[in-house]
């Protein structure tokens, strides 16, 4: 037998279309923004709507990023994810209301301190809740999708009722911290300060998640686990522990998203997480189950689409994201950035 020859691959020059194809999901965001500009034809309105759309997209990304990893890594359909959004919002806003003297002061330092305390409390509460949720509700139904849907939906209802028990059935209205109120004017467009903060937080979360997933051993284990968990375990890694960690982190991120969403809307209800789940699921599905990058792009598309259509044709706003999902799934049935599954 002769040995295999050494490889000296010759590379064909790809056509422009082939070179662009892998980057098409990323290009969709500026393409949608350009389409929005052409449809609106008013630069100031367009800029306001675009920042608003990006902010909304970032908040949906923060809420959805944990769910897509849970989907991809653990193959768990968690309809209860919205519960973490609601609990995060209630815990965070309760802290903010308790720190009224800090939020009402016209001091950026005090305001950010109050928000930091609120976000920390919300993430700790939802992280701990996620740990318990995984142990008690999810662990017994691994591998059974129908049971997962039923039991996590049940968990969501129980948590919503518990919120009503602790905080009451009424909507709670509140004001944003003093320095985050109002808008700045840029190029003739009024841009809410809080939306800029939301964009910054979203980018920070995305960059951090991407760094962890791409640059650390833990990230390698998670990415490999999404593809083929059995093989990761055969290499000596305790994937069960990683599962719990990802579930906990995903829940904490949903809690962070809940606080951000609450500050965006300036009102909280027990059902706010459940309502956000429609957009969260759309983002996770069009992004590609398990793909953080896909989730990020999907969230930006949903945020922009929602804002543009609400401005152009308010009655069509509700169906615009469903139409976006249908179009993307017809183009890429496994989502924009599908994760290879060894199953």
């Amino acid at each position: 037998m002769s040995a295999a020859p050494e490889h000296a691959p010759t590379m064909a020059r790809l056509s422009l279309r082939d070179r662009i194809a892998p980057h098409m999901p990323v290009l969709l965001v500026p393409l949608l923004a350009i389409a929005g500009f052409l449809a609106i034809m008013n630069p100031a309105s367009w800029l306001t709507l675009t920042v608003s759309g990006l902010a909304m997209g970032m908040m949906i990304f923060v809420m959805a990023s944990g769910l897509t990893l849970v989907f991809g890594l653990m193959d768990v359909i968690n309809f209860g994810h919205g519960a973490f959004v609601s609990v995060g919002a209630f815990v965070g806003i309760s802290v903010l209301l308790a720190l009224g003297h800090m939020t009402s002061a016209p001091s950026l330092f005090l305001n950010l301190g109050a928000i930091l305390a609120a976000v920390t409390a919300a993430m700790l509460a939802t992280g701990a809740m996620g740990w318990a949720f995984e142990k008690v509700i999810v662990a017994p139904v691994y591998g059974h999708h129908l049971k997962q849907i039923l039991v996590t939906m049940g968990g969501l209802i129980v948590v919503e009722q518990l919120i009503i028990v602790f905080w009451g059935p009424e909507e709670i209205y509140f004001n944003r911290p003093e320095t985050l109120k109002g808008a700045i004017t840029f190029a003739g467009a009024a841009i809410e300060k809080y939306r800029l903060v939301a964009v910054a937080v979203g980018i920070l979360v995305f960059v951090t998640m991407r760094w962890v997933l791409r640059r650390t051993k833990l990230g390698l284990i998670v990415r490999a686990g999404v593809e083929n968990g059995e093989m990761v375990m055969a290499m000596g890694y305790n994937l069960r522990l990683v599962f719990v960690g990802v579930f906990l982190a995903g829940s904490a991120l949903a809690g962070l998203g809940g606080v951000m969403w609450a500050l965006y809307q300036e009102v909280i209800t027990a059902h706010m997480g459940n309502h956000a789940m429609i957009l969260i699921f759309i983002v996770v599905i069009i992004g590609g189950l398990g793909s953080v990058e896909g989730c990020f792009i999907g969230a930006l598309l949903v945020g922009l689409m929602q804002n543009y259509i609400a401005f152009l044709e308010p009655k069509a706003a509700l169906i615009s994201n469903i139409a976006l999902m249908v179009a993307i799934l017809m183009w890429r049935p496994m989502g924009m950035i599908p994760v290879v599954k060894a199953k």
Partner: protein, 244 residues
């Protein structure tokens, strides 16, 4: 008999494995000595892959003992079995297509960074892995994927290597590369339990052989003995190695 027990690195005693309602392994006994290549042979569907998957813990033995280096690993979780010193190369290769070759290798090195001397040895055995070091593993050819799969197991020294059909579906030149790499591994004193359907490779590498049929071990002995006896091959596996 006592001497064999002392030399045994891995020992399966009366192992039964069920998958759903099917009894796949039925009282399997197997001994893998320290050093050398132990072949696990048999027709398709007789339980060879199930035996390897039971050892690594992907499927649980319902009865029996699996003694590895003196410890019963039959009830241990898969990660603990792997960390006890068992490298596993599954039949489907189990590569992570979305990860680069470098990331696949890095993940397989559970003790820390890859030693450069070890990496040089792997590159010498499998040159394409160096060429495509930063390419996504999903873009490799079938033979290159198999090289990566074996290289991942070889990236650190293991007490035992479980390798399931490494030459399946590969071109003759690639098979030769695989066989040479496994021979190198064997010459370094490694212990290998190898499932193989290519009898030229089995003859070239095997020191001892075990033949399975219908979920049972039906013959164990020296590879040379099986190699010599055409009637025995015909009786055990329904074919002759000479024909391969």
């Amino acid at each position: 008999m006592t001497e064999i027990v002392q030399d045994a690195l891995l020992r399966l005693e009366g192992v039964y494995t069920n998958i759903a309602q099917y009894h796949i392994l039925q009282s399997v006994d197997l001994m893998v000595p320290r050093g050398g290549v132990t072949m696990l042979l048999g027709r398709n569907g007789v339980g060879k892959t199930t035996t390897l998957r039971t050892i690594i813990g992907h499927w649980r033995a319902h009865q029996g003992r699996i003694l590895f280096d003196g410890e019963d690993i039959a009830r241990m979780p898969t990660p603990a079995i792997a960390r006890a010193g068992i490298g596993f190369v599954p039949e489907d290769m189990g590569i992570f297509a979305d990860l680069t070759v470098a990331e696949n290798m890095s993940l397989a090195a559970i003790s820390g960074p890859i030693h450069s001397a070890r990496l040089d040895w792997i590159f010498a055995a499998f040159p394409p892995l160096k060429t495509f070091w930063n390419s996504e593993a999903g873009t490799l050819s079938g033979g290159q994927k198999q090289m990566l799969s074996i290289a991942r197991a070889m990236v650190e020294e293991r007490k035992l290597y479980l390798i399931d059909e490494p030459t399946k579906g590969l071109a003759p030149a690639i098979i030769s590369t695989m066989a040479k790499a496994l021979k190198d591994l064997k010459d370094q004193g490694a212990s290998i339990l190898l499932v193989e359907q290519n009898f030229a490779v089995a003859k070239a590498l095997g020191d001892s052989a075990n033949v399975m049929d219908d979920g049972r071990m039906i013959w164990s002995g020296e590879m040379a003995e099986l190699n010599r006896d055409g009637d025995l091959q015909e009786r055990l596996m329904g074919l002759s190695m000479e024909a391969h």
